[in-house]
Symmetry: C2
Subunit: 443 residues, 2 copies
């Protein structure tokens, strides 16, 4: 009988192993994609692309049993040779190749010059050749940063005793109603794709008190802008036994602080590759919606057209105001007007035209929407009636409140937008692996 | 200007804080759901349900400013009093209540006796009242174990230099073709929901070498069994530069070993609540598909009806065979017939009727499907032709191979099935928060 008992050691070494000081001067075996080839007369430099970064391999004339002339970009190869220090090489090491073998060979030259440091190609070309464009070192680094953000979210919330949940994306009715819903046929019954896990995460507050989910959400919005996607990854949490909506903003501040530390510690290579300076999260200003409008109106001499709405231009100016006034990259805007928030938002008892809710702006762009929710069954039903909505399809959501719920609130963060702002991109498609928008359904 | 600088300390203490030895004998403030009330004459025991577990609060006649008679199940309350040791109480501590307040009150008595240790209710009743049923301590514990499995998957793969990816769930064409696909209208274009992230994770092997995703998948299968769902959470990984399909099984073995240790260390309370003995993952047997059929046919005197298919009953017997013969809970069955695997599966060069693929059985149930994939462009195209399939809609997938790919493979794990087998349930709906099946689209 044959058994497996875990992973076995591989002969081919990874970058981390090669960087151990005792390896220098020894013979090593390595593998990777041929990322670039530079022939300099008697010496050729072949850079391998590995999962952790680039590795320089040097072919000196006559020194390698595998001729460098047999190599081509985008082959995968296994090489062996002496590991030596070289300050000019990436990571300060290189392999003086003695031989090796070609593992796989492409059938056509690459459609994009991915071996270049910066891929100066249009966004359309990058998206049309997505699996190739992402092989560029800078392109792929953005998605390592994205991974770090999600890790930060999960690790921080886990340390704060949140439980991770998985809620269904196909349902009988949209959580927030409205028309921006994708419809599908579910075994001859009408169904919709989830716009958010809102109802489910609230229902789960009664079970685990604190819950989070990192999952796709679907919005059939006909917006064709640089900041909208029709499918995106939402980082959601919901927490019970809060004192007020401020608890939720404090939790998000804690997440942001933890995540920036995590990125600085474990994604330093990628931050360097992208030349990113991490935003300031030590102290995040908090301002009321109406006050924020006044502030930018005064400072930038801009007339307030609608006191109950925030235009993208105003969001941008609020970001600018707090950057200029207190060097803040983030700002919490609180007390959004009730009519701009969903029915489940808790109105401010001091002035019911406003809610105990907030958006987080990052460089003038909304990256989070959150707030306290209504936990009282009768208050929730009355608000549904006042909105002219129907309780139809909401029975199980409403029952949760009928049988008792604590004061609670939560938020949702758009992962791709957050990534875009951190890495300094202008279009959210740049930080989405395979974006879905009005015109793009492939790849 | 007001600023937020992270989380502030709360007066109400969590269970972990209460368990610090120096707290005993001090006055504490606590909050939670009223889980159960037991009146014993002059003394009443009120058990609070908190996110980390249960907490006993004792009301002695005349000792509390808040009368115990004002309390009801499923209220949320904040209480204060002396923290004392008591061996008979959960976690060995209790609060001798001096007063407190009722935070929220339900509008109706609970529809299920969730305060009982075991919720002896039908599965249908549990699903119809999902947000209430899950408040039972045993019911919710299953989903803490589920969280631990996902954490184990991510943490182990992250330590093995995998990168987490987020791939779209709406697409132009199903990755594996076939009829079991949910269809939807995407801005007047036909679209489908992803059956698996297969194409995308393969495309990303060329970028990050090792990738994983934990996300929902959608199968419009008309199976109405205890082990099928129409939407489930798939734990997927894909890895490049493999020597053979065995590398993938070794990686999964490593994940299982890591995860069992994580569960034992950090989910001990839940394992105890559910009375779970973790499966043996030290050595996992590996057997060929055809040999496995022979073994159970010989031992259990069962005729092989179809040498190219594995019936559920045979899977069950394979599980039983390896439990009896080598006390194994898991078994890798390798070399599935080519005609039972998707076109991208790598055929065995030694016998093309079989593939370099595997299933992992856990107690006789398939919980993983994986294997080596075809990495050669021409081989892939030829197989598509041989299958009578069309390349339509697969251009970008195929281009990935045209431009060069390493030898690679991967797998997909059904999270709800894995959870079900670990906690010893018989129906996968028991370990799905909000299951979707042929008849259930709500809650």
């Amino acid at each position: 009988m044959e058994f497996l008992s875990g992973q076995t050691t591989k002969e081919a070494l990874e970058l981390k192993e090669l960087l151990a000081p005792e390896r220098v001067g020894t013979e090593v075996k390595v593998n990777g994609f041929v990322h670039s080839i530079r022939a300099m007369g008697e010496v050729s430099f072949v850079v391998l692309r590995k999962r952790e970064g680039l590795l320089q391999c040097v072919f000196e004339e006559g020194a390698s049993a595998l001729p460098v002339k047999s190599l081509r970009e985008s082959q995968t190869v296994e090489l062996f040779g002496l590991l030596e220090k070289d300050e000019r090489a990436p990571h300060g090491i290189e392999v003086r190749v003695k031989g090796g073998e070609i593992l796989t060979t492409p059938y056509a030259p690459l459609p994009l010059p991915i071996g270049k440091w910066k891929l100066n190609t249009s966004l359309e070309a990058k998206l049309d050749n997505r699996s190739i464009a992402l092989r560029n070192v800078r392109e792929r680094a953005k998605f390592r940063i994205q991974e770090g953000i999600v890790r930060g979210f999960r690790e921080y919330l886990t340390s704060q005793q949140f439980t991770e949940i998985h809620t269904p994306k196909i349902g009988a009715k949209g959580a927030e109603g409205g028309s921006n819903i994708f419809k599908l046929d579910y075994f001859h019954r009408p169904a919709v794709l989830a716009q958010s896990p809102q109802f489910y995460k609230q229902m789960m507050v009664g079970v685990f008190d604190r819950v989070f989910e990192t999952a796709p959400v679907f919005r059939a919005e006909k917006h064709n802008t640089k900041r909208h996607l029709n499918e995106y990854t939402s980082l959601d949490f919901e927490m019970g036994f809060i004192d007020s909506y401020v608890d939720i903003m404090e939790m998000e501040t804690g997440f942001l602080q933890y995540t920036m530390k995590l990125l600085a510690a474990e994604y330093a290579d990628e931050l360097r590759i992208l030349n990113v300076t991490l935003p300031n999260t030590e102290k995040i200003p908090m301002v009321r919606f109406d006050r924020a409008k006044e502030l930018v109106s005064e400072k930038y001499d801009r007339r307030i057209r609608n006191p109950y709405d925030l235009e993208p231009e105003e969001e941008h100016l609020i970001g600018r105001y707090f950057k200029e006034e207190c060097d803040a990259d983030f700002v919490f805007v609180t007390h959004y007007p009730s009519k701009k928030r969903p029915f489940y938002a808790m109105d401010d008892p001091a002035d019911e035209r406003f809610t105990l809710s907030f958006d987080l702006l990052f460089g003038g762009l909304e990256v989070t929407t959150g707030g306290q929710r209504i936990h009282d069954y009768q208050m929730l039903r009355e608000k549904i009636v006042r909105r002219g909505m129907s309780e139809e399809g909401m029975d199980m959501y409403l029952d949760t409140f009928k049988y008792g719920m604590p004061k609670h609130g939560g938020l949702g963060i758009g992962l791709e937008r957050m990534t875009m702002k951190i890495v300094g991109e202008e279009n959210v498609r740049e930080t989405t692996l395979f974006p879905r928008d009005l015109s793009r359904l492939e790849p």
